[in-house]
Symmetry: C2
Subunit: 349 residues, 2 copies
DNA sequence: TTTTAGCACTCTCGGTTCGAGAGTGCTAAA
DNA sequence: TTTAGCACTCTCGAACCGAGAGTGCTAAAA
């Protein structure tokens, strides 16, 4: 990667900033005037030519202003804003909002999504924390009608799953409660493997239900993420990119289509440290649908126990300056919340 | 409402149909040719003039084709398609999909939303069934760290709510489990009022927790709906109405902004019978944001126990012919599923 | 050597013009 | 009552054009 002079970095940064705000190609005169630079448009033009030569800028057509290329954004992100911090004022506002919702666990994820969307003025996504290794917490069996039974399984970390089973013959609620009680005593805090290793149950009903519990737990382990929360899609829809190009609009579809999104998350997750913010600019060649968009993602939680992802999706010219620090801060915040819950439950054993 | 001749109804219906498909104003010649009508364009023109006179059609400008007015759609909906049935083939496909997911309660709502969106080729929404009167089912208290306690409350019908409480002083997990056990025995199947009427507990911790449970239950009762599931927003975004008019685009916002949506649902819910499909055309003067859109809504569930709403949101020229029967069918289907669960639990007492 | 003023050149964008075509309403005949 | 014929209206897209923004180059200034 070619080295840039101080001044070139400044000019690149200003072009990115201006283009982010206006969505218009940036000209030399405009730049000099708007930011009161102490060198002339002609000088800027020379530098722009150099930056264009190096692949950081391009012209939509001869004699329009310059627009950052993907490489331009990439340089900006890694060399200029990656380590920027979120201003204290924003940190406080966000912390405050979480403080107010601290009791209401169910509000955490939607709140995180909403804050991310508002701060970044783009679309946001947050996945609920999800344990790679499920640990049994509590089972409940509720007889409904006839042979139908509602089974509620709670895992350590708070994940809850429900399913309906149909038994071979009707069973009383008393019997079901007894089975649940025994299994609860037997399995509490155990992982999938530990439960699988237990000696087989003699009671047929218990055995069947345990099989279903195991199925459910391992099904959960195979999923990449918990529930997905989205917010702020409309922020993005009014951006010019999404109004005009059909291509960009298809990117929104990727967001709605959970299976595609899962795929994106899975692939990004695999090479993500907790806390490290990943920036995917223009799909990086791998994602056709994201050609004109960028995604800023981070992983949060406690690796090995429960982790999730959160991030922001927007046009390629989104405000990285705002988005990256926000995503990083939110990831740390959620990590803290998750650890409060998990560590407590772990100690319980 | 003026009476229409058979032929006028036919022409109105065909115009609605054609406009729904093409989004282009419909001319007399086109109509005659496309549907091989056995009367001439001139005759159609006369009828069109009459329908325009009556307020069912309008011309975007002199010498364009005709477009249905809100009254036109309304007439079409009430007199032509309201009682239409969903074709057997569609009924089977849908039933089949639910049959496959029958075990997985958590999949029901997203599945319903997805089917609605696909069938109607518009955006869909489904609210989880929600009990107007909460009934206690099961409580669980989990010590996390220090004075933090995770409280999980399960209600009859399957609603689950979680919150974190901070106690005045640390309490052991044994103590918490004992409290939960006693409260479970005491409160199971009871309504908010019944619990409130119980004699006060002597144990301070039990008393505090019971207060929180009551708070939580009544908070739930005040909400209009359970969780909201959306799907297919992108179907709607590519419609010309949403590309061009900023006004229409704002309607999508209403869909994302849960509080607005709640309001819409609440107002519609109040005058809705279970199973009756409500069609809101162009906002009906009450909803500025919905000027160019329509919403088809129905209530499902068992009134007095648990109900929810489901519906479809799209441009005013959506295919009512497809949408209305689908919404009605889905409402019936979900009502069936809800009753299976609820009735079972009710009998338990 | 670096910066900058001057200038010729290029390309887009918005406005205007204009003719084709679609669709109408009216009249009069079938 | 229906329909053919016709004059009339209005939109839409294509073609055209000039203003303006922005560039790169050259040569002078610092």
């Amino acid at each position: 990667m070619p080295e840039l002079t101080e001044r070139q970095r400044l000019i690149l940064a200003l072009i990115v900033r201006d283009y982010t705000e206006t969505a218009q190609p940036v000209g030399s005169a405009r730049l000099a005037e708007r930011y009161r630079l102490d060198f002339s448009p002609a000088t800027i033009r020379n530098e722009m030519a150099a930056l264009t030569e190096m692949g950081y800028l391009r012209q939509p057509h001869t004699s329009a202003g310059r627009v950052p290329t993907e490489e331009g954004y990439r340089y900006f992100v890694t060399h200029v804003v990656y380590h920027a911090d979120l201003p204290d004022s924003a940190r406080h506002t966000i912390s405050h909002q979480f403080y107010q919702a601290r009791q209401d666990v169910e509000q955490w994820m939607p709140l995180a999504a909403s804050i991310l969307a508002r701060q970044s003025r783009a679309a946001s996504l947050v996945t609920a924390p999800h344990a790679e290794r499920a640990r049994y917490k509590h089972l409940e069996l509720i007889s409904t009608q006839g042979r139908q039974v509602l089974m509620v399984l709670v895992l350590v970390g708070g994940e809850v799953s429900q399913q309906i089973l149909t038994l071979a013959e009707p069973v009383s609620q008393e019997r079901l409660s007894a089975v649940a009680l025994r299994l609860n005593q037997l399995c509490v805090s155990k992982t999938t493997e530990e439960i699988a290793a237990l000696p087989t149950r003699s009671d047929a009903l218990e055995k069947d239900i345990l099989t279903l519990v195991l199925q459910d737990m391992s099904r959960g382990e195979q999923r990449v993420s918990g529930e997905i929360y989205l917010d702020g899609l409309t922020n993005v829809l009014s951006e010019p990119e999404f109004l005009e190009s059909d291509e960009a609009r298809r990117a929104v579809r990727l967001f709605e289509e959970r299976s595609l999104l899962q795929d994106l998350l899975a692939r990004t997750m695999s090479n993500a440290d907790v806390g490290g913010v990943q920036v995917l600019i223009g799909g990086e060649g791998k994602w056709e649908e994201l050609k004109q968009c960028s995604v800023v993602l981070a992983r949060y939680g406690i690796p090995g126990h429960a982790t999730g992802m959160l991030g922001v999706f927007g046009p390629m010219r989104m405000s990285y300056t705002r988005t990256i620090p926000t995503v990083r801060f939110m990831a740390d915040l959620l990590s803290g919340l998750v650890s409060e819950i998990i560590e407590g439950e772990e100690n319980e054993q």
